[in-house]
Amino acid sequence: MKKLTILLIIVLGAFGLKAQTDVPKFTVSPSEVDALTEKVTITFDVTGSAVEGLTDVYIWAWAPSLSPSETLLDYDQGSASWGSISKNAKLDPVAGNPNKFKLSLPKTVTRNGVSVTFNNIAELFGVGDTPGKIKEFGFLLRSQDGSKQTPGDLKTKVSLLPLEFTPAYFRTFPAKVSNKDVVTAYLNLSLIESGEDQKLKIASKITATATLMTATGTTILAVDKIATSYTSEKEYAFTFLPEMLAAFPAGVSLKDVAKCKIEFSGEVSDQKGGVTTVKTKAFEFSFQSYE
């Protein structure tokens, strides 16, 4: 009986520990924003996270590409300090739901005795004049004294639409698409990432595998060995219409398609005449809701 109790405590403790480390869920409205988008609202659901139960929840946000990286909400003057977060970083409660909080722009605060209005994310990070500098920002939610916090290390982050075109290892055209749109996927091997199999740079016969998935990541269908073309921009590309990629399984329709995963592969010949297949990582993107 004693052993059973100990086991139960361990199991419950493990579950308790998991709840402590849960990342907060969040939604950004509109769903696609760039650094200059106005009227942005981020809604946080802290259910199961370390800050659940707090009436005052603060946001600690930083943009890795900036220096200083912290949002101006987190400090009133000088530089940001974990131990003395500004009251401006306190999130607004969502009426009727104690586990939900929000940050809405424009937001007017008092910094160092002066009233300041942040109209967009660039201004929130002090780069209103050079908005192209911010590509994404990470955040964690915390108590005022910092004794409770959700995971950091960019476990929760908001990626922004680029303001300037930047060549990338992988991209789609259009950059954001719905499941009813024609999609072109591009792979630029001259920008291969360090974690990838570097043999890809000398690979030939580049083909692709496209997988359509539900919102929960369940595979609906996958099509492999899709031929690619080599473009004038030195990218491998293939174009598809999700609806026409392949026949949908019974009971599943285009309405169920929420995500797409793309993998490229190629062949590398060795000195003995053998052929090895090399693959890229899986590039995943979500389909947007367009009408």
Partner: protein, 164 residues
């Protein structure tokens, strides 16, 4: 005699200062007869509206999809607008999504900006590009894909057609 000459001169000057009569404006262009006939799709393009608004390079803004699907060329699409108000569309092997047949009308007879297709109680609005080239047998249809929550245009499809 000198006074009479002066009065005559002043009168002539006064009359010459009368504003010219405004010329009559021609009849409003009736585009409906110009749109009647069979139109073949010759080019089908996709535009990333966000990239366009930020002046991204052309290859990251616009893509010609006309022949992108071998065996499903967009050039196999055609549509016929009949004088009796009916239409028929032949999608050929293309993936164009358009009503197959029904009736057609302009949204505004004087200043049309769209063609309204109707079939079995359902309507499809086909936005028109500039009508300046209709007289020379060219027209553009435009389809816009909007973000649900903001209503912002995110993707545009441009159909360039020529008259058969």
């Amino acid at each position: 005699m000198k006074n009479i000459f002066a009065v005559l001169l002043i009168s002539l000057l006064a009359f010459s200062c009368q504003p010219d009569e405004i010329p009559a404006i021609g009849d409003k262009t009736d585009y409906k007869p110009m749109l009647e006939g069979t139109w073949n799709l010759v080019k089908f393009e996709q535009v990333d509206a966000d990239a366009e608004s930020k002046s991204f390079p052309d290859f990251a803004t616009r893509k010609d999809l006309t022949t992108v699907f071998p065996g499903h060329l967009y050039t196999s699409f055609s549509i016929t607008f009949n004088a009796d108000g009916t239409f028929s569309a032949n999608k050929g092997t293309s993936y164009v999504q358009m009503m197959a047949s029904g009736t057609w009308a302009l949204d505004d007879t004087d200043y049309p900006s769209a063609i309204i297709l109707t079939s079995s109680g359902k309507t499809q609005k086909i936005a028109l590009g500039s009508l300046a080239d209709v007289v020379v047998g060219k027209v553009q249809f435009k389809e816009e894909r909007k973000q649900v929550e903001s209503g912002k245009v995110k993707i545009k499809y441009v159909y360039s057609l020529t008259k058969k």
